[in-house]
Amino acid sequence: MKRKGLKGLTAVLCCAAVATVVQGCGSSSDGRIEIEIVQYKMEAANYFKTVEEEFNATHDDIHLTISSPNDATTILKTRFIRENYPDIIGIGGDINYSYFVDADILADVSGYEGMKDINEGYLEIAEALELVPVDGTYIIPYVANAAGVLYNRDMFEEHGWQIPETWDEMLALCDQIQAEGILPFYFGFKDTWTCLAPWNAMAVELAPADTTKQVNKGTTTFTKEYKELAEKYMELLPYGPDDPFAYGYNDACTAFARGESAMYTIGSYATPQILSVNPDMKIDSFVMPASDDKNDRTLNSGIDLGFCVMEDCKNKEAAYEVLDFLYADENIQKYIDDQNAVPCKKGNFTLSSMLDGMTEFIQSGNMTDYQDHYYPSEMSVDALLQTLLLEKDEDAFLRTFDTNWQRYNRDIIRMVQDYEAAHGNTN
């Protein structure tokens, strides 16, 4: 027994050692340049698989690998700490991007040829995400998403309901729908993140786009900017199900797909899940009207996926070649067909019919980024919103928002104020 145990152990250790060594050299291949992309949109994994295959079939000098893991942000962070950088990363335009820029791990891609074809609106959005303004461009926006109100087209046609353009019209429509015995909205507030969807869609009209930056500079407070927003948000609650906190995102998607409500305040990203339950459903969307002036309306849209080249990438030329392929019109069209997304590239693309109600905003470039792209995730604004909706105490909510903001963003605020002190006069 003793011998056996020991021998077994030794054998295992030896095997493992050999395996480690073999794996260590395994990555160098047949002389082709290796380019690795890690992108975070797991839903689009199939699309990227096809792109990878097509690219490798048509290129002899570069070998491309694209992975689309679940929980990509954690994977990326652990790989960064191991200094095992991929060549290109595909991420969303949110606070993580801001952190990555701040950590100096992304390469300046302003020299990339394809940059001039990108819609300026989205480049500005990307620019705005930098914690403090930095020189250069670090992300090439690929596609955007849009959030507003999804509605059941057949139901609207059948009852002759009109798309609302102001807040009062919105409430009137809800009353009308309710009077006909139909539930206006379905909410899935058990999954806290869904509380952010209506909030974002209304915030673009009711609060300045740079609210968070102004707070960081110390020129305003959330109590001032978000008061109307918080009040109006609570007015939506009576038009939803009795206990919206019992249902999750999936429940809400299923209910909306089954015709249990006329509208659903969520982003375009929810349509694949809704259609999986009811493939024949006709969905359209409109911009959430939150203001009394219909000209205040703006589309809530942000960078859903953009690509960044890592500073550590050895062969930037090869990376750009891969990007050329990714940003080819036909590939972008395939992506937006697959995911109902909005392209960030200029040109004539065919948009999904689910975005019909938003097309005029997209074409005229009338869009504003999500407020939550500036919220640090650890502050859990979604949970604060859920608390607001549960306890209906807007003053407490606004107070907490302001105090928590100062607490969670202390280092960023200091950074911003240092920057202001140094550059303040030139602005």
Binding site: M1, T20, M42, N70, R79
Partner: protein, 280 residues
Amino acid sequence: MKKTSTVEKSNKWVMVLLILGLSTIIFPLYMTVVIAFKQPSEMTNSISGILSLPKVWSLNNFREAMEVTDFWNSLKNSLLISVLTVGLSVLIHSLMGYTLGRNKSSKFYNFVYLFIVSGMFVPFAILMMPLAKQTAEMGLANWFGVILLYVVFYMPMNIMLYSGYLTNIPMALEEAARVDGASTWRTYWQIIFPIMRPMHATVAVITALAVWNDVMTPLIIMAGSAENTLPLAQLNFQSQFGTNYNLAFASYLLSLIPILIFYLICQKQILNGVVNGAVK
């Protein structure tokens, strides 16, 4: 005579309780199976809808789930990691558990015991980043690194189990062997190790289960190595914006089978109390 009748009576009550308890398991299992066979378009929010049988009993979900997870390959990785971890754990942890369990009077070993056992309470989140870095530096960012980490992670619990088990094994057994001139090392492998068989089985089940379902360790250690374990591959079914519950449930049912078989084999060992015979 009186004794048997009370035993029978209490057994009847035990049976009733066990059957009642069973319903809390059968019901979720029924739901899992039914959902695994349904199509996404059959999912509803009504109770009758979710409890109804699928329209067609087809294995398509299972086939597709196997394809999405690259089942055989992921299964191979999962098996490799689980089997090696369990094997190493039983060998190493029992030995350490024995050493610590038999030296409870020594201050040093007592300290080592508490030191290792308290390792159980380290929140994994604080270890993640340093471990990701350390394993990469040591060239262990692969399945072998994962196994080594598991052997360390489950050491506290297993050592606690082994040394607890030893308190009921009389010293007399070892002393007899010692009188015959056997070394401590040999006494351990010839006498103590076989006696602890029920505990080996317990440890094997607990360790295997924890390893089999674990996502975090392989996620951060093997990230970027293109190798998947089953739970890692199963992550492909869920994303924030859409989860295919039907495929996911089919896949979870599939991955449940190997570990259930393993448990059924082990639980026989847990109960073949060797100790009873040995003590007499």
